[in-house]
Symmetry: C2
Subunit: 125 residues, 2 copies
DNA sequence: GTAGGCAGTATACAAAAGTATACTGCTAAT
DNA sequence: ATTAGCAGTATACTTTTGTATACTGCCTAC
């Protein structure tokens, strides 16, 4: 049976274990926001410098990129690595969990495709 | 390999198939927003009337519940069923896809728990 | 005929998320 | 000395999302 099934709002108290709720909100924090997934995708593809990430997700502003990277770092999804050379070089890299989140995204893609095919049985595109 | 890996922002064009991006954004639309998951959980637990949903997610306002249910209906997650008796009875029910989304949520819970255990190896709670 | 339940809607407001534009401090090369 | 690149920060917005509070229309039971 689904782990999620017994989730309810905070006030009534969840029926499923609290650890499930914590885990779920962690995951939501990682994928929520307009730029999180584009940034994670760029990191997966090997972009690791600020300027490259800025260029790869065209239209993101440095303010947003900076903010999102900080949140991802706080949440243990990326590491910020400072190479103490001149000029200083800074790299962002996905942690192991960060790389693993692709499996969650893939399950979202799977569900989405199944869902679309059920809505429009013939032309599923 | 991950389906998601080659996602990038719209301007540069995604490297992964467009159908993946559509599927992913569909899924995000279903789970995004403060009340979507609490509502889906309540529906999974067999709540199907407006007043019951209002009461189960304590603190949600009728305006928000109404809005979220409409979006879920548009996205093919819930059906609104009108029983033409007096007084009229209206039920909200998850579609098959709607029920299936629990598997996505479960994969989010799984990742979140793994992630937590990697951040704090000893006490994973 | 009035009070109450059901299924919402209307209006106004507050808070959160995102954008635009300009700027900083450091170094390195010309 | 000046210009340019890197890695951001600062300030002031605009847009989106969510909240508060009150109200509607329909029916039923008292």
């Amino acid at each position: 049976m689904s782990k999620f099934k017994d989730f309810v709002g905070e006030e009534k108290g969840p029926q499923c274990p609290r650890s499930y709720i914590l885990a779920l909100t962690d995951t939501l924090n990682v994928i929520q926001g307009k730029w999180k997934l584009p940034i994670i995708a760029s990191l997966l593809r090997g972009m690791n410098r600020f300027k490259d990430l800025l260029a790869s997700s065209e239209k993101i502003t440095p303010r947003m990129l900076s903010k999102e990277l900080k949140e991802l770092e706080i949440n243990g999804i990326v590491q910020r690595i400072v190479y103490d050379q001149t000029p200083v070089l800074i790299e962002y890299r996905l942690t192991e969990s960060g790389r693993d989140i692709a499996t969650v995204i893939d399950s979202m893609i799977d569900w989405g495709m199944l869902h679309r095919s059920q809505l429009m049985p013939t032309k599923s595109q």
